[in-house]
């Protein structure tokens, strides 16, 4: 998991469990050919064999069984993005990275506004839309996919479960503490899997997965610095949150058992700098990436706004506006952010953002409704009326036209 999500306070318990990861010994396989390879000469050697079906009486089979059930659940949760182009694109990238393991992995794009991707030991991978909103080119997305596939190829979940099973009472408490918490949209899984999910991976495993993500970028000719940049962007968001005092309580606890984002960013930079032919690795495929995701970005942004993590969202919008793609909708959402935050001066800020959005051309039709609301707040009743009328024109079939007409009537 690459998650930066709030996770139950019980994670603190895990602090006590650090450092128990056993080193894998056993056959290793080449990610390029799927054939046995010596781990010593192959930096990308997998511990899992392509197409592996563990015998039913193994712990691996039990773990996969639980994840299969969880997969059945989230598949029908209604949160899976079914746009064929998005799915084709993401699956294509996964296959590029996974090579001989391609057929073993199923990718689900999940509509959920957090920076998160997960990988089940059964090959079920989740990529959340909150992540797709933040990765800004193909190289960044590849870095994340490579990281998750790294967890899979090195069987980190299984390793984690074995550690959990071998650790005693602290976990009984942990299990109890998380029993009521559920695991968000993924749905309740069996206690153990929920546990594996919540405990996430160890620091060492995250470092190994980061290294895999990096090596995959290099292998496929992408600019490896993009992996570090993702963390740079996230750190900016977190800093903004900290400044606003909106920092999520559990974040520090979460980080206690994970490598710090700063450390991950710096390590990834160092790895990138060490690459000998780095000058040749410039591919980021920004255009391809944008062609797939920009048409859907409004939905991602709307979900993000609904979280009301204003400081983070403001920072994110700032970065996206700098990129200069479809800025009208970005200004619109920044206006929405200010309008909803409603701090001192926010009404004026919102008004300005909406104006910028209109200037940029082709903003979402809802902008006129929002402008009407802002004008109303500023006492500009004629302007408000005009804006609401423009809304009716832009969205004649909207679900709220009756109430808008009612409001216009009151303004007259």
């Amino acid at each position: 998991m690459i998650a930066v999500r709030q996770i139950g306070c019980a994670i603190a318990v895990l602090g006590m469990l650090g450092g128990c990861v056993t080193t894998q010994s056993g056959p290793t396989y080449s990610v390029s050919t799927g054939k046995p390879t010596a781990a010593a000469d192959d930096k990308l050697a997998a511990t899992l064999k392509p197409g592996a079906k563990p015998a039913l009486n193994t712990d691996d089979a039990g773990l996969r069984m639980m994840y299969d059930k969880a997969e059945g659940k989230f598949k029908t949760s209604g949160n899976v993005v079914r746009d064929p182009e998005i799915n084709r694109y993401v699956s294509g990238l996964v296959c590029k990275v996974a090579g001989p393991y391609c057929a073993d992995i199923r990718v689900y794009v999940i509509r959920a506004p957090y920076f998160n991707a997960t990988m089940g030991p059964n090959g079920a991978m989740q990529v959340w839309t909150g992540l797709l909103l933040r990765t800004r080119n193909e190289a960044q997305l590849m870095a994340v996919l490579g990281h998750e596939i790294g967890h899979y190829l090195r069987q980190h979940s299984l390793e984690r479960m074995r550690t959990a099973v071998n650790t005693s009472n602290a976990l009984a408490f942990f299990q109890l503490a998380t029993a009521g918490a559920g695991v968000g949209i993924v749905g309740a899984m069996g206690s153990l899997v929920a546990l594996a999910q919540l405990t996430a991976y160890s620091r060492d495993q995250e470092r190994e997965a980061d290294r895999f993500g990096h090596l995959f970028l290099v292998k496929h000719g992408y600019d490896p610095r993009e992996a570090a940049r993702i963390w740079g962007q996230l750190i900016e968001e977190q800093d903004a949150e900290k400044e606003e005092g909106e920092e999520e309580e559990t974040r520090s606890v979460f980080l206690a058992s994970h490598p710090l984002p700063d450390e991950r960013r710096d390590t990834l930079w160092e790895l990138a700098d060490e690459v000998e032919v780095r000058e040749k690795l410039t591919k980021i495929n920004e255009e391809v990436y944008n062609a797939v995701f920009l048409p859907h970005r409004r939905m991602f942004l709307r979900d993000e706004l609904n979280l009301r993590r204003f400081a983070r969202f403001e920072t994110l919008l700032e970065m996206l506006i700098e990129d200069g793609k479809q800025v009208a909708e970005l200004h619109y959402f920044r206006g929405e952010l200010y309008r909803l935050r409603n701090d001192v001066g926010d009404v004026e800020r919102a008004e300005k953002e909406y104006e910028l959005a209109v200037e940029a051309g082709d903003p979402p039709g809802e902008i006129h409704r929002s402008m009407g609301q802002i004008h109303q707040k500023l006492g500009k009743m004629d302007a408000a009326k005009g804006a609401f009328q423009r809304y009716l024109k832009a969205k004649p079939n909207a679900e709220d036209v009756d109430i808008i007409r009612h409001i216009i009537g009151k303004l007259s």
Binding site: A55, L56, N57, T58, D59, A61, G62, L63, R64, M65, M66, K69, G72, K75, T76, S77, G78, V80, M161, A164, V165, N166, T167, S168, N169, L171, A172, F173, Q175, L176, A179, G180, A181, G182, A188, G190, S191, L192, V193, L195
Partner: protein
């Protein structure tokens, strides 16, 4: 907006401490009016067997689960045979995968209904006064989809969680102390419900909760299923 999801699990655990192993509710004594073509559709059986490790972690066991599912099906089939009914399996592969389809939504609705029955019928502090004397939950008329597709009269839902201690009870005692439940090695909890595929009505519901039982072998599976189908209408 609703009661905590986690509660349900605790209610199930709470049931373990009450005296009887099964309690059943039903609305009719006889299932069949016609002697031909008696078909009962077994909905995807949610059965899971696991090891309760010393640390209190339940570790799912795929081999036991596979075997238990097979044994449960055979045993259920035999049970249905007693009223000359045939048990047919719900084929998950041929089911409509659309999350909005009636097929998918009915499974989810049954989870919500089953949970409500457990919460409000088997846990006295949360009893609903209007349902004191009645048992009238239903899945509604959408069940027609299932009746037509599978040509079945009733749908049978089965849920079983079975765990066995693997040496060492330190953690179990630990959990017990916190939860107020003594876990004696292994536990078996589950429920089964029978839905009339004409009306959607839940015509029979039974819950099972005990500190023994073993679905890993034929004899134990038969015994568990017999208990799970306690007071099953003829």
């Amino acid at each position: 907006m609703s009661l905590q999801r986690g509660m349900l699990w605790l209610v199930v655990v709470g049931l373990l401490v009450s005296g009887c192993q099964t309690i059943s509710l039903g609305t009719r004594e006889h299932l069949w009016t016609d002697s031909n073509n008696r078909r009962v559709l077994l909905m995807p059986a949610d059965i899971e067997l696991s090891v309760l490790n010393a640390g209190g972690v339940t570790e799912p066991n795929a081999a036991w689960t596979e075997k238990a599912k097979k044994l449960a099906f055979e045993s259920l089939q035999e049970k249905m045979g007693e009223t000359s009914a045939t048990l047919v399996s719900y084929d998950e592969k041929s089911a409509n995968p659309d999350p909005d389809s009636d097929e998918v939504q009915l499974l989810k609705l049954h989870q919500a209904v089953g949970g409500s029955i457990m919460l409000h019928k088997f846990f006295a502090p949360l009893a609903l006064p209007t349902k004191k004397e009645s048992f009238d939950w239903t899945l509604g008329p959408a069940v027609a989809t299932l009746r037509e597709k599978h040509a079945a009269d009733y749908g049978l839902f089965v849920f079983i969680r079975d765990s066995y201690a693997s040496g060492g009870r330190a953690a179990a005692i630990f959990i017990g102390a916190v939860l107020g439940v003594g876990i004696q090695g292994g536990t078996q909890v589950g429920f089964a419900s029978l839905v009339d595929l004409k009306s959607g009505e839940i015509v029979w519901f039974n819950r099972l909760a005990r500190g023994q039982g073993d679905m890993r072998n034929e004899k134990g599976a038969t015994e568990t299923i017999a208990l799970l189908l306690n007071n099953f209408p003829k």
